[in-house]
């Protein structure tokens, strides 16, 4: 298979699968190429620590590979995101247990990142604050909020992705925004007082 053919396979979702390239393998490669960044970002904003996000993303795609035959072509993104939500909850639970069990240097080895340039350190700090605010939201509200405010989906798209009624999405989004804004206000007050910097 030449490069152009491979490029076509990855870039064109509806291209006919050649007989010499297993259909599920083609689909898995394309799914990963198209959705990896989205799933990685989603996992991060759903509370997966940075150092665990790569492996969590890998788990999402491995689970999808196992269940590939049952995933409708137009539901891939939805399946991946819903799987990511479940994986995120599991990883968070496991990670929390591990944090509780670790002390001293052991904990530093997991948490402490390498020294970063100032700009990257500031960016990382912003994301820490963002995750702190998102942590204030229950997971059902958090998923809707992340898809709307960070991934830029609209309510019907979110409803379709999460298999919810549009009204349910709107209700959750309203509550999520209220909680997020209250948490942001508390953070702003705290920062103005010089606490938490």
């Amino acid at each position: 298979m030449n490069e152009a053919r491979l490029a076509g396979l990855v870039a064109a979702p509806n291209l006919e699968t050649p007989a010499d390239w297993p259909a599920d393998a083609t689909r898995q490669a394309r799914m990963a190429a198209q959705h990896y960044d989205f799933i990685w970002r989603s996992l991060r904003r759903l509370g997966v620590a940075e150092q665990a996000a790569d492996d969590a993303a890998q788990r999402v795609f491995l689970i999808a590979a196992e269940k590939m035959a049952r995933i409708a072509p137009d539901c891939e993104r939805s399946f991946l995101f819903q799987t990511a939500v479940r994986v995120a909850m599991s990883v968070r639970r496991t990670y929390a247990q591990r944090r509780e069990a670790m002390v001293g240097d052991e904990l530093d080895a997991v948490i402490d990142p390498s020294p970063l340039p100032d700009a990257m350190a500031e960016e990382r700090q912003r994301r820490r604050y963002l995750d702190e605010l998102l942590d204030a939201l229950p997971m059902d509200l958090r998923t809707v909020f992340v898809l709307y405010e960070i991934e830029g989906l609209d309510s019907p798209e979110i409803a379709s992705m999460l298999e919810l009624a549009v009204g349910t999405v709107a209700s959750r989004l309203r509550r999520a925004r209220d909680m997020f804004r209250r948490a942001a206000e508390r953070l702003r007050t705290r920062l103005e007082r010089g606490v938490g910097r």
Binding site: E3, A7, P22, T26, D54, I63, S90, M120
Partner: protein, 272 residues
């Protein structure tokens, strides 16, 4: 009901924090490692030419998969060790010298290497409530199974990649590893807010790969870079052109989002 997005209509703090999420990127080789773990990466990014080397590459993918699978049952922090081992024995080998890989395989099977690795600190403390995952290889089995069984166990439904790689797979010469590497550098530059470097790297990418596999991803990154660089008009023009040709692309929501509010009106109907 449509709410004004806080990333556009919120307070300064809300906007700043929400926008920080857009440039959050993973490790440079995250996608590559996932492709390897899936087994499809072994074929897609293999640069090996011999049957023996390709077989090792497939096994490497399996090792990576096994390493990841261990994560689910045994905690998160330990993953680094397991995946590093898998990457050295598998993924890294797939991209480097085949003779070295063959030597490793002949003398030190992945499972044997894993078994000699320092014992993960959290295995007994964090094993509670693993996510049911049929791709997982129980740590004890992974550590004790003969090397020949590891790929079969890890790859599950894709034994053909392990035992009988297609001649077509073996002949493939993919640019994917190099493309992913270049795009990872672009993401790193964007994360560091070095937009000039990111745009320069994207120019180099376009020159190096005129028929690229990751063209769509590169274009999306260029839109992000242009916005971050202050060239919203250029970003909008590029985004509009892409959306006109790919209205149902998985990248469409992201582009619409970063290109601003009420963009559906500005960019025309988008396939739902």
């Amino acid at each position: 009901m449509t709410f004004p997005r806080l990333s556009e209509a919120g307070t300064e703090l809300e906007r700043e924090l929400l926008s920080s999420a857009r440039l959050d990127v993973g490790r440079q080789d995250g996608l590559k490692r996932t492709l390897l773990a899936l087994g499809v990466g072994a074929g897609a990014i293999s640069t090996s030419t011999s049957t023996a080397a390709a077989g090792v590459v497939a096994g490497g993918g399996a090792a990576a998969a096994g390493g990841s699978a261990l994560v689910g049952g045994a905690g998160v922090g330990m993953v680094v060790k397991w995946v590093a081992i898998a990457a050295v024995v598998g993924g890294g080998a797939a991209l480097s010298a085949a003779p070295v890989v063959r030597h490793i395989r002949a003398t030190t099977a992945p499972a044997a290497v894993a078994a000699r690795a320092p014992k993960p600190v959290a295995d007994s403390r964090t094993a509670a409530e693993p996510v049911p995952d049929r791709t997982s290889v129980p740590p004890a089995l992974a550590a004790s199974a003969p090397a020949s069984r590891i790929p079969v166990l890890s790859l599950g439904a894709r034994p053909a990649y392990v035992g009988a790689p297609s001649p077509v797979l073996l002949q493939r010469r993919s640019t994917l590893p190099a493309e992913l590497s270049m795009l990872d550098r672009v993401r790193a530059s964007l994360a560091a807010r070095d937009t000039a470097a990111a745009l320069g790297q994207l120019d180099a990418y376009d020159r190096a790969f005129p028929s690229s596999v990751m063209a769509d991803e590169a274009l999306v990154l260029r839109v992000d870079a242009l916005i971050a660089h202050g060239d919203r008009a250029g970003a909008a023009a590029l985004g509009r052109q892409f959306l006109a040709g790919h209205p149902a692309s998985p990248h469409a929501p992201h582009l619409l989002h970063v290109l601003g509010a009420n963009n559906r009106d500005r960019f025309g109907p988008i396939a739902e």
